[in-house]
């Protein structure tokens, strides 16, 4: 037996540094592509409409999409594990309905918000438990969750309920001034804070890394002794919580509760996540990418608003098209690997 000291270094086939750099960069490629797309769209917009090139137009992308950013954050967690959550739009509507009704009945806004967060998180937790313990496909469970949440909206009221609460109206009108005559809404700060927290959780905690590991290979994650069951359930609870927060942000934005609100918003959230570079099979993606995905969706809308001749439905078609392109790109990547 050769003693340790005389062992020669093994001759491992070493990938050339250049190649490994490309491989390493490939991790960020989809997200960078989306960022490039966003910048290009912004540049084109600026070229076509002089007023496009303003800081406020950029900030408005955030102001008008706070709720979508928060939804996309929750959806990123779910998709990273390889799951999907179709209930988010309906939970947003339910959160809006609950807060609008309770505020109408004179509840304290703080109590309302806490209750809404509990409902959202609780619904998510329930779906996660069913998915995990009964081994039913996530899409069917969250589809049922969508039914349930939307149905509860109808039960509360079929009509739009206005929100007149002082705190909510203040939040709707508040502008936080920034240098250069710019401003953002408080909701933007909240949404960005949530993004920051999500980024931190995903990249600097064991829970976050377990989310990635599950998406990479659930079986391996289990064999490595990671807390697979707990993580998978928590991810849906988180998504439910994010939906509830998004619902409150949407209430700040629209100052009403309406049972038909946020229809199809789950699709926007999924599209933002996918366009932001997260693989639908899980394991790869970044929450910051999802934010860029939301911005891309936002700029599509802005474009259409600026153009004036294009109608709103082009948004849906363009989103569908982008979704398709990115899914095909993912497929291409998967085949290469």
């Amino acid at each position: 037996m050769s003693p340790l000291s005389t062992l020669t270094p093994p001759t491992v086939k070493k990938p050339s540094p250049a190649r490994s750099r490309i491989r390493g960069g490939a991790r960020y490629a989809p997200t960078l592509a989306t960022l490039g797309l966003f910048i290009a769209m912004f540049a084109v917009g600026a070229g076509m409409y002089p007023s496009f090139l303003s800081g406020q137009v950029f900030l408005n992308l955030f102001i008008d999409n706070t709720f979508l950013i928060v939804l996309a954050v929750g959806m990123t967690f779910v998709i990273l594990t390889g799951g999907i959550d179709l209930s988010v739009g309906a939970v947003v509507a339910l959160s809006m309905m609950v807060s609008a009704t309770l505020l109408q009945h004179g509840w304290n806004p703080a109590a309302v918000i806490i209750l809404v967060l509990l409902i959202g998180g609780g619904l998510g937790l329930l779906m996660g438990l069913i998915i995990q313990y009964f081994d039913i496909q996530p899409f069917i469970v969250t589809l049922a969750g969508m039914f349930l949440a939307r149905g509860l909206c109808y039960v509360i009221s079929l009509d739009s309920i206005p929100v007149t609460d002082e705190f909510f109206t203040n939040m709707a009108q508040a502008q936080i001034p920034l240098p250069g005559d710019l401003f953002v809404s408080p909701g933007v700060l909240l949404a960005l804070a949530i993004v920051a927290i999500a980024f931190f959780v995903l990249h600097h905690t064991r829970f976050g890394r377990t989310v990635y590991a599950i998406g990479g290979n659930e079986h391996s994650a289990m064999l490595m002794g990671l807390a697979v069951t707990r993580t998978k359930i928590l991810v849906y609870a988180l998504s439910g919580l994010c939906s509830a927060i998004a619902g409150i942000l949407f209430s700040f934005y629209s100052l009403s509760g309406y049972s038909l609100a946020a229809q199809g918003m789950e699709l926007d959230a999924i599209a933002a996540v996918v366009i932001g570079g997260t693989l639908l099979t899980g394991g790869t993606g970044y929450v910051l990418g999802s934010v860029v995905g939301v911005l891309v969706l936002g700029i599509v809308q802005t474009f259409i608003a600026y153009d004036g001749t294009l109608s709103s439905w082009w948004t849906k078609i363009v989103i569908g098209g982008l979704l398709l392109v990115f899914i095909l790109l993912q497929r291409l990547f998967a085949r290469r690997a």
């Binding site: 039913i136 899409f139 589809l143 349930l148 509860l152 099979t281 109608s311 439905w313 569908g320 497929r331």
Partner: protein
């Protein structure tokens, strides 16, 4: 096999019977039919007529689900088909002629077929997960429908067109007859050819099917095309019934109802054996549920909550884990020994996007 098939349809049939009886108790004239102006009227006829689009879509969905797939885009296809036909009628020089109506129908059906080809292409050739592939059309489809209608609700006045959804033939509503015809077509298409067997083989055991030489690609393509065609006809029915195309709301959530009908009817979401009769019964149950909610004086808003609970219950009953749990409860608790289930044993196979 006989007993299995019996079992499979027995439960939905019993459920439907109970529902109908419940209605009969609360509204004694519920089951009665009457003839008026040569047309048959009655609650049952209403249920069938209102349920016709759901039944159609559920038939297509059944075959898709049997191959282990899912089609989320049917609602969008409904909207596109309605939009295409109404837009054509409005724009044509003779918006009231039967020929125009026939052409409109043809256009809608061809549109449906093309959309189905598209879904089938993504699933079978590119290999995108069905749920994701059809999500693309679900997202973009309503936009396309709005593009066709120009964002307006297009109203048409064409008697021939109106008759698709609201007309009568031989005392029966035409929509019921169309649905029956599609049902017969589906039954013949799958059982007179080998399609049904091959669909089931692919759904039950894709690996063994490949080794037996079945070309799953063609089979999968066919089911998506059929599903979209059914959705297109349903779209015609829905728009004809209100003589208008509403790109936003036509067929909204109908994919959910269709999936629900398939599952209640006894076809497992895991794919494999399917039953078209079961699906029809399942769709009737859903439609009767809606009617029952009215009959019992329950606020109609609750229907959706009710449906959600039904979906969850049925899925739980179908889930192998839940069944094992029930069985264990009956058999008494076993010492906490863990046995490998297929999920743990098999190395995780990545679902291709």
């Amino acid at each position: 096999m006989k007993s299995l098939m019996k079992n499979r349809i027995a439960w939905p049939v019993i459920a439907l019977t109970l529902l109908l009886l419940l209605n009969q108790i609360f509204r004694p004239d519920f089951l009665s039919l009457r003839m008026q102006d040569g047309h048959l009227y009655g609650s049952i006829i209403d249920i069938m007529r209102n349920g016709a689009p759901t039944i159609l879509i559920a038939l297509g969905m059944t075959l898709v689900i049997a191959t282990r797939g899912i089609d989320l885009s049917v609602g969008a296809v409904v909207a596109i088909a309605g939009a295409a036909s109404c837009a054509y009628i409005v724009a044509s020089p003779e918006p009231a002629s039967p020929v125009t109506a026939a052409t409109a129908v043809l256009i809608a059906v061809i549109a449906g077929l093309l959309l189905g080809v598209w879904n089938g292409f993504l699933v079978s050739t590119i290999g995108v997960q069905p749920i994701i592939a059809t999500l693309v059309l679900m997202t973009a489809g309503r936009g396309i429908a709005q593009l066709i209608t120009g964002g307006q609700i297009i109203s048409v006045s064409n008697d021939s067109y109106k008759s698709i959804g609201a007309g009568y033939l031989l005392t029966l509503p035409i929509s019921i007859l169309i649905t029956a015809a599609v049902f017969v077509l589906a039954a013949v298409l799958t059982r007179r050819t080998a399609l049904g067997t091959l669909i089931e083989a692919v759904g039950i055991n894709p690996v063994a099917s490949r080794l037996a030489g079945i070309r799953a690609r063609n089979i999968i393509w066919i089911v998506y095309v059929f599903s979209a065609a059914c959705a297109a006809i349903a779209g015609l029915m829905i728009s004809s019934n209100v003589t208008a195309a509403d790109a936003n709301n036509a067929g909204l959530y109908i994919e959910m109802d269709a999936i629900l009908a398939v599952v209640i009817g006894g076809t497992s979401l895991a794919g494999g054996r399917y039953t078209l009769v079961g699906t029809v019964v399942g769709a009737f149950i859903i439609q009767t549920l809606t009617t029952t909610v009215y009959t019992l004086g329950i606020p109609p808003e609750v229907t959706l909550v009710f449906k959600a609970l039904v979906v969850i219950t049925v899925c739980l009953l179908q889930a192998p884990k839940a069944r094992n749990l029930l069985r264990n409860l009956k058999a008494g608790p076993k010492p906490g020994s863990k046995k490998p289930d297929s999920k743990e044993l098999g190395s995780k196979e990545k679902v291709a996007v």
